[in-house]
């Protein structure tokens, strides 16, 4: 290991989680690379209280889309529905194409689109797990503010994002 790495390993404050880019959240409020999938939640265009849970599995690129009540998406036949396209597009905005492609283990040629390079088949996946992760995500917004000293946060400085 080189001297830079040793110095890095001996610092209390280093960036470990790569920054994410800001993006609009109205259509796709939740995207994550977790549990071996690119997964997230897409708001329904017609019913404000309905959402679709969509996912693409890393490696096999199996596609899944259903409502949060586990009813299959009518648009997913053989090829990806509009929800999956929206999910992939927003994931690329949030994490960058490289990171998403690496996670899904797909080669995207220069100038190519992520969805254009996936040819996985539709496969039913459990929407409930992803949906409950989304609810947990939303629950953070309901945690009250704290004015305690919280010295722990000195380990987590706000760092420059993508400028």
């Amino acid at each position: 290991m080189d001297a830079d790495s040793v110095a890095w390993e001996r610092r209390s404050v280093v960036r470990v989680v790569p920054p994410v880019e800001p993006r609009k959240l109205a259509k796709v409020p939740f995207v994550e690379l977790a549990d071996g999938r690119l997964q997230g939640v897409v708001s329904s265009g017609s019913d404000i209280s309905r959402v679709y849970v969509s996912s693409i599995t890393a490696g096999t690129h199996a596609l899944s889309c259903s409502t949060n009540n586990n009813r299959p998406c009518g648009g997913l036949h053989g090829s990806a529905c509009k929800h999956l396209h929206a999910l992939a597009g927003e994931a690329v905005l949030q994490y960058g194409l490289d990171r998403v492609a690496r996670y899904l283990r797909v080669e995207v040629s220069e100038g190519g689109s992520l969805m254009g390079c996936l040819n996985g088949r539709p496969e039913r996946a459990q929407a409930a797990v992803v949906f409950s992760r989304f609810l947990r995500h939303l629950a953070y917004l309901e945690v009250p503010d704290s004015t305690e000293p919280l010295p722990e946060l000195h380990w987590f400085p706000a760092m420059a994002g993508v400028r």
């Binding site: 503010d145 004015t147 919280l150 946060l153 987590f156 400085p157």
Partner: protein, 530 residues
């Protein structure tokens, strides 16, 4: 900070710091491999920790804990004592560094007053330790074994974090104890597996405990710490094959989390202090009134937390010297709330945010000031005062202000954030040259929620910043700069956008993304209560 003061600070390398950090590095390496897989090298490193603690009140406890750990029979209590030994080393390093900073700057620092909760042996032991040899500070002392650490085998599987979430709703003392016990179990498992052995299941095992911790206000520090650590472990997975690991950082977080997970002693609980470990850590409190003159804002952030910590001078109006204080507001968030959007989370504190954005002073009325110089912000106890330029405040009053002492258990170099004003330097954009003394600028710490950029730093002629120490050197974290841009003088501060961005380009970019906080709150309102 004058050229000569800077020179003295940079030249003064307190004796023993490098040696102490070498001992820590050995311990951190053992934690990378895992206590279940200690080889001769790591066992020797733990031996070095034992030797370093020998002669301090922690000596016997650390010796026993090291022996048990090498034998593979360490209890949770033993691990807590190891964490205490590591924290004590950093406490000593912190004290030496801060003393050398105070010496170089001629900064007066008040002495630590032991908290009023005298019946809490952990707190009083820590406080008395701090008055004596600095190396005796740290967590659990051997005389006060952590309540949850039994001398027997690790707790059975029944106490896994997963079992806890539902039990804590009322945050009764028993539920809090269970929750803290779950955290200790998880941290023990992590130590036994080592960072290299942490897999997806082990990281996920912390989820429910973190969720439950977030519901208990006095355990917020532990909650944000574990949440941040878990996110980093996830981002680094598979950890087993990662090229390099942030060994110092993760061991710091593990240590701090384990100390925060100790259940309060019955004495502390009898005082009616709420039952949190934090209560015995933060020292005495007093109610203060007066004028707060803001020096600048420091922003802390990870995926699910953001905090604005304001540094300022408190003028109590009774002729006593100005006091350096910190006051802060933390909000929970999600990773997609980034950049200037984070300020939207602080709209519940309009006086503090208004003062930051408009460079005004604040009149405060009976707010609680803790022993470590932290003012517990209450927006309803504050009103906006007159205009007050932070650079003027620093030039006129920072030099003679009295700095607060640091609570014993918070003494770690990472907490050092001492406001200073530097001017009359030349710069290449990475270091400020003050009369031949090169002070490094921490350009990583220019948050994306504010207007400061590396270009502004490079064009600057004066900088209000925080002196920090990491990786063996002093760094200056800018909070504000005076610079010349397009032949015009400008002054920009980290908190300038506290009421919304003022740069038209940033306003436009924000408008394009929409109000992400409002979108998510709407979704939460609709979906969480279905």
């Amino acid at each position: 900070m004058l050229d000569a003061q800077c020179g003295e600070l940079l030249r003064a390398e307190p004796p023993g710091v490098a040696e102490a950090l070498d001992v820590v590095a050995g311990f951190d390496d053992a934690l990378v491999h895992g206590f279940a897989r200690l080889r001769e090298e790591q066992a020797a490193a733990l031996g070095a920790l034992r030797d370093a603690a020998a002669g301090s009140p922690l000596g016997d406890g650390v010796a026993e804990a090291v022996e048990k750990t090498i034998a593979g029979s360490a209890s949770h209590g033993n691990l807590a004592v190891l964490a205490g030994g590591r924290a004590a080393l950093f406490g000593a390093v912190h004290d030496a560094l801060l003393a050398s900073l105070d010496g170089a700057l001629g900064r007066t620092r008040a002495t630590w007053q032991a908290p009023a909760v005298a019946s809490d042996p952990a707190a009083s032991a820590a406080a008395s330790a701090s008055a004596g040899a600095p190396a005796t500070e740290g967590g659990a002392s051997p005389e006060t074994p952590p309540t949850g650490g039994s001398a027997s085998a690790p707790e059975p599987g029944g106490a896994t974090p997963g079992a806890l979430a539902g039990a804590v709703a009322g945050a009764s003392a028993g539920a809090v104890d269970n929750l803290l016990g779950g955290c200790r179990s998880w941290l023990s498992e992590v130590a036994i597996a080592g960072w290299r052995g942490v897999d997806h299941d082990l990281v996920s095992a912390a989820d429910q405990a973190i969720e439950a911790l977030l519901a208990v206000p006095h355990l917020r520090g532990l909650a944000v710490l574990l949440d941040g650590l878990a996110a980093e472990l996830r981002a680094s997975s598979p950890v087993a094959t990662a090229e390099r690991l942030p060994a110092r950082r993760w061991a710091d977080l593990w240590t701090r989390a384990l100390l925060l997970s100790q259940s309060p002693s019955p004495g502390a609980r009898a005082e009616g202090s709420g039952g949190g470990p934090a209560d015995s850590w933060r020292g005495g409190a007093e109610a203060v009134s007066g004028r707060l003159l803001i020096l600048g804002a420091d922003v802390h952030e990870h995926g699910t937390a953001v905090r604005v910590q304001v540094h300022g001078l408190l003028d109590t109006g009774d002729g006593s010297p100005y006091r350096l204080v910190r006051t802060s507001v933390a909000a929970a968030k999600v990773d997609t709330i980034v950049g200037p959007a984070v300020w939207r989370l602080f709209t519940g504190h309009p006086v503090l945010m208004g003062a930051l954005a408009e460079h005004r002073s604040v009149e405060i009325e009976s707010m609680v000031l803790l022993g470590g110089g932290d003012l517990l912000w209450r927006d309803d106890h504050a009103r906006l005062g007159e205009a007050a330029d932070p650079f003027t405040t620093a030039r006129v009053a920072l030099g003679t202000a009295v700095a607060p002492p640091v609570p014993p258990l918070d003494r770690h170099p990472v907490r050092i954030a001492e406001p200073v004003l530097v001017e009359g330097y030349t710069t290449d954009g990475h270091t400020f040259d003050l009369g031949g003394n090169a002070l490094a600028v921490d350009l990583d710490r220019l948050p994306s929620c504010g207007p400061l950029t590396p270009e502004l730093v490079a064009a600057s002629s004066a900088c209000l910043g925080l002196l920090r120490w990491d990786g063996g050197r002093w760094l200056l974290q800018p909070m504000a700069v005076q610079a010349t841009v397009k032949r015009k003088p400008v002054a920009l501060h980290t908190g300038d956008w506290a009421m919304g961005p003022t740069d038209p380009k940033v306003v436009k970019a924000e408008a394009k993304a929409g109000d992400v906080v409002a979108v998510l709150r709407e979704r939460a309102g609709r979906l969480l209560r279905q």
